[in-house]
Amino acid sequence: MPIAESEVRWVKAPTLGLLDRLYIPAIIEGLGTTIKHIFQPPVTQQFPEERPDLPANYRGLHRLNRDTEGRVKCVACYMCSTACPAHCIDIVAAPAPAEWKDREKYPEMFVIDELRCIYCGMCEQACPCDAIELTSMFDLTGLTREEMMFDKEKLLSVFDQTAGTEKDPIRTKAGALSCASEPAK
């Protein structure tokens, strides 16, 4: 359906007056703007020396949380790998050891391909026991593709590095499905 004539608003370019046509006032005004900026403080962040101040909800590298006893909190329910749009989470479940009374399964293998991951945070949202969380670590590098496949141990070590820090506090408490990462205060 064509647009009705009443809905069309015709706009004309503004006509330039004498001062505009002389261009000099406009140029002086422009120079004023640029000169003003010279005296403003720079907004540059000297990255390797100055670290950015990231918000608490920044989605960076993953970590696998531990519970109060230091075991992996994950119960190998596959919810995260199902939710993952990039299919970067690879889990192999196994029956939990007999002395782990609170769960049936645990991940025998838990690998995230950090090169494939799009850092959308859907794994974090999907996790029923808050075992997987995204941290504010963002400058991960590797020399090979294999190096960027983060396995269970590596992800747990990320937890050890980041848990309790100001940026990445442990956000989960005990729930119906699993135990807390920190002892209750």
Binding site: L22, I24, H37, P42, V43
Partner: protein, 373 residues
């Protein structure tokens, strides 16, 4: 005498190259400050050694010539550009100069390579317009469509802007009665600040400045090397020292034109109470270079302030606006000289010409006009 001249040439040659390196640094810093950035700061204190690092990089780079390029022309072109730009500087005074009418003018040391050249300005215009050969040959020899377009644009632009450039200073030449740059300085310096040509020729100064922006291929007239549409224009295929030659030529051109603006309109080395005619030469040198540096900073401010012109706007600015205005200005100076009127009349006349041009431009176009479509 010969030795002092050779020494001057060597010093100027070295100083110009060092200055060009320094200007690149200053330009990057000013650009950064204007964009609320810090700019080069990694090499040395506040990035000052960036100049050396850039120079070293240019020298160490592989001298690559595309196999489809016309080899000999490709190599000669940057040299032509640099040599012509440097050659201009031969007649430009850069420090204290005495009264050229004195008998001992020639025997005394003057801060100029070639003393008392009576066709000074003419020489500069003749040689500086040859730099376009460097650009157009570079674009042609690259055997690349973008480079060629850049070179052709440059030739069209420089030919167009030569005319207002030359016409705008004719007023100054008429008032001084000489093309000799030292005489032009002396006339202003001996008369005090109220004899500076800027008071009588403000319009000519404006037009000269606009034209020299175009002559130096600086923004807002850098159409020969528009990065966005022509990759790099005429120097797309160049790298290493050959590219550095183009840049050196461009910056030398800029320095020359800044010196010219100071000489023609702002009294050269003269400044009231600080650098009068009978004062120490060092002060004159400092004043002169400081004035020149102010203009260079202004060039850079303008570069990051005004967006680039479209090519047809560039052409119509030269032919429809600048040239008629310079002609009117010239006629006004002729009247003043012929009838012996006080030159102060030229100040309101200049302003009048400018406002008149603005009035003509701001008239609404009639609907019947074929241009309105």
């Amino acid at each position: 005498m010969l030795i002092s001249t050779i020494l001057t040439i060597l010093i100027i040659f070295g100083a110009l190259q060092a200055l060009a390196g320094g200007l690149v640094y200053v330009e990057r810093k000013i650009c950064a400050f204007m964009q609320n950035r810090i700019g080069p700061n990694r090499v040395g204190p506040v990035g000052l050694l960036q100049i050396l690092a850039d120079g070293l990089k240019f020298i160490m780079k592989e001298e690559f010539v595309p196999h489809y390029a016309d080899k000999s022309v490709f190599i000669i072109a940057p040299a032509i550009g640099l040599v012509c730009a440097m050659l201009c500087f031969a007649v430009v005074p850069f420090g204290a100069t005495d009264n050229p009418a004195d008998a001992d003018y020639i025997t005394h040391y003057q801060f100029i390579i070639a003393k008392n050249v009576d066709i000074g300005i003419l020489f500069i215009f003749a040689v500086s317009s040859l730099t376009v050969y460097g650009i157009i040959l570079g674009g042609w020899a690259s055997n690349n469509k973008y480079s060629l377009i850049g070179g052709l644009r440059s030739s069209a632009q420089i030919i167009s802007y030569e005319i207002p450039l030359g016409l705008s200073i004719l007023g100054v030449v008429l008032m001084t009665g000489s093309l000799n740059l030292e005489r032009i300085i002396w006339k202003q310096a001996s008369g005090g600040i109220l004899e500076w040509n800027i008071w009588f020729q403000p319009l000519a100064f404006l037009l000269f400045m606009i034209s020299s922006f175009a002559e130096c291929n600086r923004l807002p007239f850098d159409l020969p090397e528009t990065e966005q549409e022509l990759v790099g224009g005429y120097h797309t295929e160049y790298n290493g020292m050959k590219l550095a030659f183009f840049f050196l030529g461009e910056y030398t051109h800029m320095v020359t034109s800044c010196f010219l603006m100071v000489i023609l309109f702002f009294g050269g080395w003269h400044f009231p109470f600080i650098a009068e005619a009978d004062m120490w030469w060092g002060l004159k040198l400092i004043v002169f270079v400081a004035k020149m540096a102010l203009f260079i900073v202004f060039y850079m401010l303008v570069r990051w302030t005004i967006p680039r012109f479209r090519f047809d706007q560039l052409m119509s600015l030269a032919w429809k606006v600048l040239i008629p205005m310079t002609l009117l200005n010239l006629v006004a100076v002729m009247f003043v000289k012929e009838y012996g009127i006080t030159p102060w009349v030229l100040l309101p006349v200049s302003l009048g010409i400018l406002v008149g041009a603005g009035l003509i431009a701001s008239q609404p176009e009639s609907k019947e006009s074929p241009l309105a479509a």
